[in-house]
Structure formats: structure tokens, C-alpha cells
Amino acid sequence: MSELLIKNGYIFDPISGIKGDKADIAIKDGKIVDKVSSKAQVIDASGKTVMSGGVDIHTHVSGPKVNTGRMMRPEDKFFRGSYRGGIIKQGKRMEMGFSIPSTYKTGYAYARMGYTFTNEAAMPPLLAPHVHEEFRDTPILDQAAMPVFGNNWFCFEYIKNKELENNAAYVAWLLNATKGIGIKVVNPGGTEAWAWGENCTTINDPVPYFDITPAEIVKGLIETNEYLGLPHSVHIHGNNLGNPGNYKDTLDTLRLAESYKAKNKFGREQVLHNTHIQFHSYKGTSWADFESGAKEIMDYVNANKNITCDIGQVTLDETTTMTADGPFEYHLNQLNHIKWANVDVELETGSGVVPYIYDKNIKVCGIQWAIGLELALYAKDLMRVHITTDHPNAGPFTRYPCVIKWLMSEKARKATLDTMKWKDKVIAASNIASMDRELGLYEIAMMTRAGPAKALGLAAIYGSLVKGADGNVAIYNLDANDLPSDPELIEAAFQNTAYTIKEGVVVVKDGEIIAEPHKYTLWTKVNMPENAQVMHDIKEKFTKNYTVNLENYAVFDEHVHNPRAIELDVA
């Protein structure tokens, strides 16, 4: 029976609506409770900001393509690793890498920023055991992973034939087989087309051979998701990512959700989460007249409550891009001609990895930076707009404190803008220079824990300090009533917590790892009757097309680290 009392902090908890009131937070046996006995360990949080543990809704931290990035980029360690004059060993294991950190650094670095849960953004089902092996070796963080469905042959066929129930049974089976949490869609149809060297750049481009369009795939998966009532909604990286003029394709994708309502028991309200929306908010016809489409996109998101998004903020770093959008990575490589890795995965998906340098002296990079911030600053409901860097695609997650600084301080934005070689062109192509909005701590809490947790359908466990939630707490060295005028101090406070508490255990103190308690793998367990047709189809495809036997495909129980199932019943 362990008890912990966090006294006198300024509490920011959007789920319960607490906006900086001075109060105490009590934790008993790993859960938030109303009160604890006098024997409880006490942490004095007076003059400090207290939030629930951070929740990352979209980050590539575990699995095959992340690891391909680590493997093919030794220079990410040599030149950009934080060891040079940086971190000495704090936890049990050494920390390596900058844009694609080792699993140990991933766990420790998130914990130091006050995060306790991450959602791995793309798990190729065939390679699921790899993701789970990395979870085992990522300390502290609770983790989940979304299998990718947007280029899956089973889904293509069921959706094309309008067999919703079969598609649902297949999705439920795959979530169980891979221990996944929800439905991820990456460049629907486009990655399958890439297996023949082609792409789908609009929602109406037919997928070669399969005679289905991205629009049909997305609608079919939204229907499937709501039929099952999964905790999270469909999580989309749409077609035509990263190209000038793509905001129209993005609006087309978002409109696909128009007729749908969320149906679930987890408090989720959206039916579509558009991830890293910055990469999908581009106007112009070429890189020469490239400009921001943030206003158009955010006007639509603001008006439609059944949509959530995360920003995918460009952080102006050298980083490593990686996505299941195989054709995009090839395309990007044709722009920068650095090394290129690609892995097409049989029947399911593909992926690519390309290093990328977001140079503040390149006009387009400056505009991309502006677009991400504009999206957040145009947003009316920050519970529906979350902070991410699409780690590591727009920048490493370790830059979240810097993103928070930019959002909280116009001065900080101006200072960064002033360092850009093509500042005037960036200003001309965006509205960033005219935006004086500065977000507060409550809004940051919405964007970094409450909003993502709600969108994931996990707000009863994470992202909240309400009674019964996991005792995950971040205490920042920030006096909410007297915020520093120097924005760098805001960044510093979010970089290293005064305390991070995971299930009632202090894991970080004064920015240093001091404990590595157990962690969970979250997944969605759908209880539904077995579907004979779907099981027949699965057996057939494994006999004829896969190169791994069906019986070896589902992740064995012994390879799932400390599972924690979110259960739901479908009649």
C-alpha cells in the first residue's frame, strides 16, 4: 500500500475542468484517490505546475521502420547524440541517438518531459513481434501501437464487396493477433500502388488491380471502427502528403467523415483523427509559390466536431523521416538525394526512411514551421488539436518543450523567425507574423494530455487527474501565477520535470531518472463471435500468399510485455 500526496501545486486538468487552482493530488496504490492517510509520502509542489502525465497520440518510437532508421544512420549518434557534453548514464541503460533515439533513451527522455504514455503510430501487422520486443526494452512508458489497415488486401476486398461485418471481424482478429489498439490508415491505396512503383494522390485515384479508391477505403474503415465501437477513431495520414496544393486533398479526406457519428463507450467524440495535419495543409502549385493552407484547414476542423488532429510541428532540426507512405519517401528522396530505405510488406503495407534536414535557411522549411504553429493558433477547441512533431518526421519528440514555448510566446516565435534567411518570404507565405495569440498552461494541458487521451478513448486511465485514473503526474518548475518573461525558461521547465510520477512511483526527480517501475502494453480486445467466412479467408491467404504460417503470425503471449487489455463486446 503505497501512498503519495502532492501538495499545493497549481493544478491544470482539463478533463475535470481545473484551471490552475491550488490543490492537493493524492495517489494510492497507483491510482488517483480523494485522500490518503497521514503516512503518505509528501511532495511539496508549491509554486509549481501540476498536470497529469503527458499522452502522445502519434509518435514513431518502436518497430521496424524506426529501427531501420537507427540502423542506417550511425551519424545520428556520432554528431547529434546528446552524449557529447550531454547526458551521462542516469537510468540502468545508456541513452543513444538524437532523432531516432534508442528504446532506453526514448523511455527516459519522455519521462523527463513528464510523459507517461505513447501511441506508436504505425505497426506493420506482419512485423508486430518486433514492435513488442521494443516495448519490452523501452522503460517506464506505457505504450500502445496502431496496426496499419489502409493498404491491407483483406480490407480492400471486404470494403469493395460492402461486407462491413466481415471487415469488422477481420479488424478485431488482427487487433487481437498483433495486440494493437486501433485502426491506422496511411496513404490509403497509395502504398499498395507503390508496390508497382505508383501512387494514389487523390481520394479518387483507383488502386491498381483492386478496383477500389482511397475514399472508399477511408469510409469503409470509419464504418468498421464505429461498428466495433473501438476506443480510438480511425487515425489517418491521408493521400498526397507533403505536396504543394494538397490542402484540397486533405479537405476531401476530412469531408469523408461528414455523415458519421462516434459510437463508443469510451467518451470519444470524433470519428476521424487526421494526424500530422501540418504536412497536409499546403497551398501553391509548386515549391516556388508554396504557401500556408492552415486557415482553410483549421476553419474546417473548427466547424466539425467529429474531427481531431495533431499538428506535426516542424522543429527545424536534422531528422529522419519514416512512414508507411512508401511512395512519399521515394518522392522525398528524389528531392534530397540522401540515402533511402524502403520496406514493402506483403499483403499489408510498406514503408520508407529518408534522413531530412529542416534548414531554417530554406524557405520551404520556414513556411512548414509557420504552418504547424498557425494550425494550433487558429484552433478554437484545443481538446481536438494536439501537439506532436510526428516524431521523428517533423522533428524529434524531445523538441516538444520548444514547440510549447513557441505556442506560449509570440516573442519566441519572432526570435526564431528572425533567424531565418528567407524571413520575408516565410512571412509573405503565411500569417504567422501577424498572430499574437499566446496559449496558456490550461491549453497546453489540453493539447498534450487531456485532448489526446480523450481522442484515444483512454481518458479514464490517462491524461487526467480524476479519481480512478492512473497515478501519472508531471510536476513542472513553473509558477502558474508568475510565468517567466524569458520564453527559454518555459522550454527548460517542460524539458525536465521537477517530478514525474508513474503509477504513484517517482520516476524522475529534478530532471533525473531515479526509478524504472513496470510498464504496460495497451491493446484493444474485441469480444465477438468468430466469423467463419473471415477465418476461411484468413486461412486461404496464409496458405497461398503469406510467407509466414498463420499459426506463427499472431504475437505469442510470451512476447507481449505486461499486457493491459481495453475490452469491448460486439454482439
Binding site: M94, D344, N545, N552, H559
Partner: protein, 443 residues
């Protein structure tokens, strides 16, 4: 009643076949029958239930003989020597599961030593090329379902990966390749007329050591300079080069499989580098992928596991305690051994005594040498300490990575000989013992 176990993974080559059928005796100790396996795989399963398996660690005595000792003694001895050594090296891992490789990473991080795997003497040059040029690849099912042109360059699967051609590349009928071999064009590029060349549509008998030139010739054709080729390049006639290049350009989906015929001939990593460049060129006009023919069933494993642990796939220097370092040439096993930098050697899941150059083995032999391996081999016979372990895929399960980096979950089919530990348990015990000794100040 004998029991049939299906869907068993085979612990031999990089094909990591997972469709083996094993018939096990009543008591779960004997393997009676092995099906769906090549000749080599069969022998590994048979060896697993051999009555001659080593059951206890064996310590070299002053008179040169080996004496059985307990696992506890072996663990303590290894832990103490690891802590005492300034630059211990643990090398091998072709034949261990990923759980063992992760535990090995923990051991060498605590010991502050060097950690390397068999890639250092096989596909290390491929890693060097990947560092420079990337790796446009795919899973083997993509080849099976889509590929209409297959190139084997410097590899001979007919002998080294016996089921590769039938399971993945030339013969299987996949989704878009319903006619199997009939609709596939097979190109073998090898200085020898191998058994693989024997089934090819084209065998290009490249002059030994001149692969780079031939790659360059293909790139010239792809870039539109075919007519500038000399009459012959690397022993191949200009017309043949133009003809084969045309096939490559017109492929719907092509794959190049390359082996140690490229990594261990003149050019080494440069051969792989230009092979990747050719693949990149071909993707401008067609769809092409490339794949290393990794040798053992889990030799891709340590590269994968250590990349997520430390960020480097091989040649790891963990002596700096706070960060890892990799610099092949400086931190590669054979180079260190030749310079006599290593003052303790652990050979695990391989046979360095058989595979390393003799002068390197002689240097390593000057210092304490531990072999962790189920079998008697050359390394075990020159060791100071030989610790037997389970055989992955036979008496212990675990995850392994196939040559295309797809994780395959292996099964245990028989009980290990009584008392024999698996790699993961053994290595974690060594790590625990080192932590204990360090805490007591005995290190």
C-alpha cells in the same frame, strides 16, 4: 503416442522456414521425424536430441583436460573475468534468439566491453553500404507475390539457402505470379557455374573480382549511355549486358539477392553500395528491391536488437560506459584480435576458432576464452570454459529475424537436457552476478 508439432521454425539458414513438422516421442525428449526441412536443417533437429549433448559447463584444468563444473561456478568465473578484463569481447550470435542477444547487450554494457556479431565477417560490408546509401528492400512475400525478374548476384542459394528459391523467389506461385517459375526471368551473376546458375535463364559469368565494373555497366545502360560501353565488361559481352539491362528495365517488380560473393571479393562494401545505387536507378523506371542473403536463421537478429538498444548493428564499443561507439576497422572483432587488444573473449552461438584467421585466433587464445554453445566445436575445444546452452528452435523458443528482417516466432519442440540453461537465462545470471560483485565492491 508420438506427438506431431507443426509450424516449427528451422534454426539453420537465413530463410528461417517456419513450416517444419516434427514428430516427438512420448516423453518429449526424442525427435523421431523431421519434415519440410532441407538436409542441413534435418541434422540440426537430430543433433538436438543426441545423447552426446553436453550437459554441464566444462572448465579447462592445468593439465589441459576439461572438468565438469556447476553452472553457478561457470557464471561466477565468467562474471569475475569480465569485470577484471579491460576490453573483453563477446562475439557470435548467428545461432541465438533475440532474447539472448538482448541479454548479451546487458552483460557487455555492465562489463564495459566490446560486442560484435558474425556480420563482422560476412555482411559487415553490406552494413557499411547501407550506412552510406540506404536499403530499398521488401519482405520475401513481396517477391513471391509480385516479382517477375529475380537476380542472384554472388550468392548460391541452391547450397547455402536450400529452400530460398522454392519458398520465396523462383518457383512459388503468388498472388500476381500465378504461373510461378514460367513467368519469371532468373538472372544469376557469379564467376562460377553454380547449381543456382543451372536453373537461371541468364548466367553472367563475371570475371572474379570485377563485379563493380559490371554494376557500373548496368548503371550506364539505365542512364542511357549503353552505346558507350566497350565490347566487353568484366568478362561479359556488351550485347549480353544490354539484353539483361533491358529485362531489368521492363520488370514489373524485380529483386536482387546478393551474397558473400559480393561482400568478400574485391570492392566489398563498394559492390553493395553500387548495387543499391543500381536499385535506386531502376526505381525511376520500374519497381526494384534488393536484399542481403543473410546466412544464419537469426544473424539479422543482433543487428536489429542492438540497433534499438544502442543505435548500431555491430562492432559495438561499450567500454566508454556512458555511450556506445562503433567504428568498423577499429572496433571490429578480427581487427581487434589481430592487434591483440582484446583481453578476454566470449564466443557465443558461433565458432570463431573455425571462422577467424588463424593469427587472430592465436591472439585471442592468449587470454581467457569462454565458449557458450550447445555443441562441441573448434572454439569449445580451445576454450578455458565451455558452457552448454539450449538450441534455439529445438529446446528453447524465441524470436528470430529472417533475412528480410521479418520476426519469426520459434517454438520449443523438445525438453532440453536436464539442467541446461538457455542463452537468455545464462546471460542474465552472468549480468546479475556482475551487479552483485560490483555492489559488494569485489570488482
Amino acid at each position: 503416442m508420438p506427438k506431431v508439432i507443426e509450424n516449427v521454425g528451422c534454426p539453420y539458414c537465413g530463410c528461417s522456414c517456419d513450416d517444419v513438422r516434427i514428430t516427438v516421442s512420448d516423453d518429449g525428449k526424442d525427435i523421431l521425424e523431421v519434415e519440410n526441412v532441407c538436409a542441413i536443417g534435418t541434422e540440426i533437429f537430430k543433433h538436438g536430441c543426441s545423447k552426446d549433448r553436453i550437459r554441464l559447463p566444462r572448465m579447462r584444468q592445468p593439465d589441459g583436460s576439461m572438468k565438469d563444473i556447476s553452472y553457478e561456478e561457470a557464471i561466477d568465473w565468467t562474471a569475475r573475468h569480465l569485470l577484471k578484463a579491460k576490453k573483453p569481447l563477446m562475439y557470435g550470435f548467428g545461432s541465438t534468439n533475440c532474447e539472448g542477444q538482448a541479454a548479451a547487450a546487458r552483460v557487455m554494457e555492465i562489463a564495459g566491453g566490446m560486442l560484435d556479431n558474425c556480420a563482422t565477417i560476412c555482411h559487415g560490408p553490406s552494413f557499411l553500404a547501407i550506412f552510406d546509401n540506404g536499403y530499398p528492400s521488401c519482405t520475401l512475400g513481396e517477391v513471391k507475390n509480385r516479382a517477375d525478374v529475380i537476380v542472384y548476384w554472388g550468392s548460391n542459394p541452391a547450397h547455402a539457402h536450400p529452400r530460398h528459391m522454392s519458398r520465396y523467389s523462383i518457383f512459388p506461385r503468388g498472388f500476381f505470379t500465378g504461373k510461378g517459375q514460367k513467368k519469371r526471368t532468373v538472372i544469376v551473376i557469379d564467376p562460377r557455374f553454380t547449381d543456382t546458375a543451372n536453373v537461371a535463364d541468364y548466367h553472367l559469368q563475371v570475371k572474379q573480382g570485377h563485379d563493380y565494373e559490371l554494376f557500373n555497366a548496368f548503371r550506364m545502360v539505365i542512364h542511357g549511355h549503353g552505346k558507350d560501353l566497350p565490347d566487353e565488361v568484366a568478362g561479359i559481352k556488351k550485347e549480353t549486358i544490354l539484353e539483361v539491362a533491358e529485362i531489368m528495365k521492363n520488370a514489373r517488380f524485380g529483386t536482387t539477392f546478393f551474397g558473400m560473393g559480393l561482400t568478400h571479393t574485391d570492392g566489398r562494401n563498394h559492390n553493395i553500395d553500387i548495387a543499391i545505387s543500381l536499385t535506386r536507378d531502376l526505381n525511376k523506371i520500374s519497381k526494384w528491391t534488393i536484399m542481403a542473403m543473410r546466412g544464419h536463421y537469426n544473424i539479422a537478429g543482433p543487428g536489429v536488437v542492438w540497433s534499438w538498444t544502442f543505435g548500431f548493428p555491430y562492432c559495438l564499443d561499450l567500454t566508454k560506459q556512458n555511450h556506445a561507439h562503433m567504428n568498423p576497422g577499429e572496433t571490429s572483432s578480427v581487427d581487434m584480435a589481430m592487434r591483440d587488444e582484446v583481453d578476454m573473449f566470449i564466443n557465443i552461438g558461433t565458432d570463431a576458432a573455425a571462422h577467424f584467421p588463424i593469427p587472430a585466433v592465436k591472439q585471442l587464445k592468449k587470454h581467457p576464452w569462454v565458449t557458450i554453445d550447445p555443441s562441441i566445436n573448434m572454439a569449445s575445444e580451445i576454450s578455458d570454459l565451455h558452457i552448454p546452452v539450449c538450441i534455439c528452435g529445438v529446446d528453447v523458443g524465441g524470436i528470430v529475424y529472417r533475412m528480410d528482417n521479418v520476426p519469426i516466432q520459434f517454438r520449443k519442440v523438445i525438453e532440453p537436457p536436464e539442467g541446461v540453461m538457455d542463452d537468455e537465462t545464462l546471460l542474465n545470471k552472468i549480468a546479475d552476478r556482475m551487479e552483485e560483485l560490483k555492489a559488494k565492491g569485489e570488482a
